[in-house]
């Protein structure tokens, strides 16, 4: 076969591959077209309202354009759902949703469309950190406030966005510390009894790892009897978490607490603890704390293996709505706003909570 024929063949194969992998996003198309239709009607109603701008009554529909990353995980799906259920006509909103399928150029195009459609607010969950200056300047020139969701962008000009809504990883780490303080108190552990802790860290340098490690360290510093035996990365995966925990258990005989910086590593740690002939959970020798509170974590808590999981909430919709309401009234808002996050432990009615959760 000639070289050209060969390269043609390879590109054909690659194209089919991409088509195969890409078709997951294809199902979104009808939804989008529906959204565009509704946005047209929204645009009409808006121009009607523009005539009676003077009387700012409650019936005014606020049009919000949301440039979402795409459907990459449960968390993302729940995040999208949170926006779709918050910005409904009953609450006086019109949501134009765009799924960027993990591509920045799609998001930039979506923002330009939003500007064309003269939406009132743009919400952006940036897929990457850089390269937003031009398009956000366009939005700023058009007088449309931009609210970032979940991730920060890198820009020299802070005024390009109005606010950022995200999870507070440091606070999550501190919540884990406070939970442990309360838990030890409830167990009537003497204040001078030594508590040996090991930490399974996330992928080193990830914002969740840095925040959660620092946050927990803040509370660790306030408790003289807490002793951090070792920290090691489990790279946010179950198998690495298990491998590292196996090693910890051989190094140290008296581990009291395991802090796993996500749920999956905690599952691995639980398996390692059981394999070593020890027990964990509320009834066991070792207390296990994790982060994220995904559905499987609830299963582990119900099974009595996991003590507590600190939530990393994808429910950004209500907080963004709050910001928009404040802006509508002409108030100023804080540049960085954190979503409300709580924790779950085995003292709660987990079955009921699990059933009511979106992710």
């Amino acid at each position: 076969m000639s070289k050209r024929g060969l390269s043609l063949f390879v590109s054909a194969v690659m194209l089919t591959m991409f088509a195969l992998t890409g078709c997951g996003g294809g199902t979104k198309a009808p939804e989008e077209s529906k959204a565009v239709e509704s946005s047209e009607t929204a645009g009409e109603s808006k121009s009607e309202e523009a005539k009676s701008e003077a009387s700012k009554d409650a019936s005014k529909v606020i049009v919000v354009g949301y440039a979402q990353v795409g459907a990459e995980s449960d968390w993302r799906t729940a995040n999208t759902e949170s926006f779709k259920s918050t910005f409904v006509p009953e609450n006086g909103y019109e949501l134009i949703f765009n799924d960027a399928q993990q591509k920045q150029e799609n998001q930039i195009k979506a923002i330009r469309d939003f500007i064309q459609q003269e939406v009132d607010y743009i919400v952006l969950a940036p897929v990457v950190e850089t390269g937003w200056d031009t398009v956000l300047q366009e939005a700023k020139d058009a007088g449309i406030p931009v609210i970032l969701s979940d991730r920060m962008i890198k820009t020299s000009d802070d005024s390009l966005y109005t606010a950022l809504v995200c999870g507070d990883f440091i606070k999550e780490g501190e919540t884990a510390g406070h939970w442990l303080e309360d838990y030890l108190k409830s167990k009537n552990v003497a204040a001078d009894e030594k508590i040996n802790i090991v930490t399974l860290q996330g992928t080193i340098g990830a914002s969740a790892q840095v925040g959660r490690t620092d946050g927990f360290a803040n509370i660790l510093g306030q408790n003289a009897n807490w002793n951090m035996l070792a920290k090691q990365t489990g790279e946010f995966t179950q198998s690495k978490g298990q491998e590292v925990m196996e090693s910890f258990l051989k190094q140290f005989d008296d581990i009291d607490v395991v802090v796993a910086e996500n749920d999956n590593m905690a599952f691995g740690a639980i398996d390692a603890i059981k394999a070593a002939g020890k027990t964990c959970g509320p009834e066991g020798d070792i207390t296990v704390i994790s982060f994220d509170a995904v559905k499987a974590a609830f299963d582990a808590m119900i099974a009595g293996d996991l003590n507590a999981s600190i939530e990393c909430s994808p429910l950004h919709g209500p907080r963004v709505a709050e910001i928009i309401q404040k802006l509508e009234k002409g108030e100023t808002v804080d540049k960085i706003q954190y979503v409300d996050e709580s924790y779950f432990d085995t003292s709660m009615d987990l079955e009921k909570i699990k059933a009511g959760r979106a992710y």
Binding site: M1, V10, S73, T237, E243, K250, Q251, A275
Partner: protein, 353 residues
Amino acid sequence: MTVKEFKIKNITSARLFLPIVSLILVLIINMIKTPNFFNITIQNGVFYGYIIDVINRASELVILAVGMTLVVASSGGTDISVGAVCALAGAVACFILAGGEVSTDVYRAPYITAFIAAIFVGLLCGSFNAFLVAKMNIQPMVATLILFTAGRGMAQLVTNGQITYIRVESFKMLGNSIHGIPLPTPVFVALAVVLITLIILKKTALGLYIETVGINNKAARLVGLNPVYIQFIAYAFCGLLAGLAGMIVSSRVYSADANNAGLNIELDAILAVALGGNSLAGGKFSLLGSVIGAYTIQALTTTLYAMSVSADQLPVYKAIVVVIIVSLQSKEFIKIIRGFNLNKKKAEVAHER
């Protein structure tokens, strides 16, 4: 030259000498730094200790290194898709067992169906690579890059982007241990793969053919071998083993995690081949060398955990040890050392005169 000297030289120039020395080197560091490294106790009827961890955790790597060795030897290229194929095979198996659900407590399909499907997916992916490399003559790294990129995407498609859990005790057996047997199951699987491959290579002329094709493709054709056929076997076998490793990986965590299963393991497998003293340019190979290389890599990882090296410095230490081991085995380095000794001897002789 005395008889004794001759014997020592025989040992040092033996093929497996340097790989074994590297492994022993890593273990000796342990003996000094963490004396309890070699302690073995029995926990829940299963042997328990660092050494057990090493041979247990290295199993997937050993299996992949076996396949990778044949690929490297026959084509002088590497199959970088094995990690993604692991993920895909695991995803397919869990999808079948869970019947499309996210989590299941009972098998929705017989285990053997899922197992065969996983192996078949591996074989299929291997054959796809084999077709591109052997038949279409595409550079191995480019050809396998396709599945390296697309494999995890396809696994995501199969699992619908979720982690699929199979919470059935018998599913965990392949990756953990069977009741009553004191060693983890993956150890036996790895051992079986190595033995079967060795027997095939020694009892048939396949090993020789692979080396011939790897050394000189054209010459092999001239003596009547079909290089396409030989390379096809190597790549397809590598894919099949990747499917098997994928089953072990998902059995360990009783789930299919399309993003993380076998992540970066292809690089470790290639490193294992290199640490085993094999040339990445193809040709003559030593299967046992690669196997020892795989155990060395895992011993190193476990050692660094046991020595409590902090997470952010971990890659640096790994890199340093790998650089030392690889340069110990480099011919140029050995030449320099020999040359140095030679010069010293010459100087001594000159001095005596």
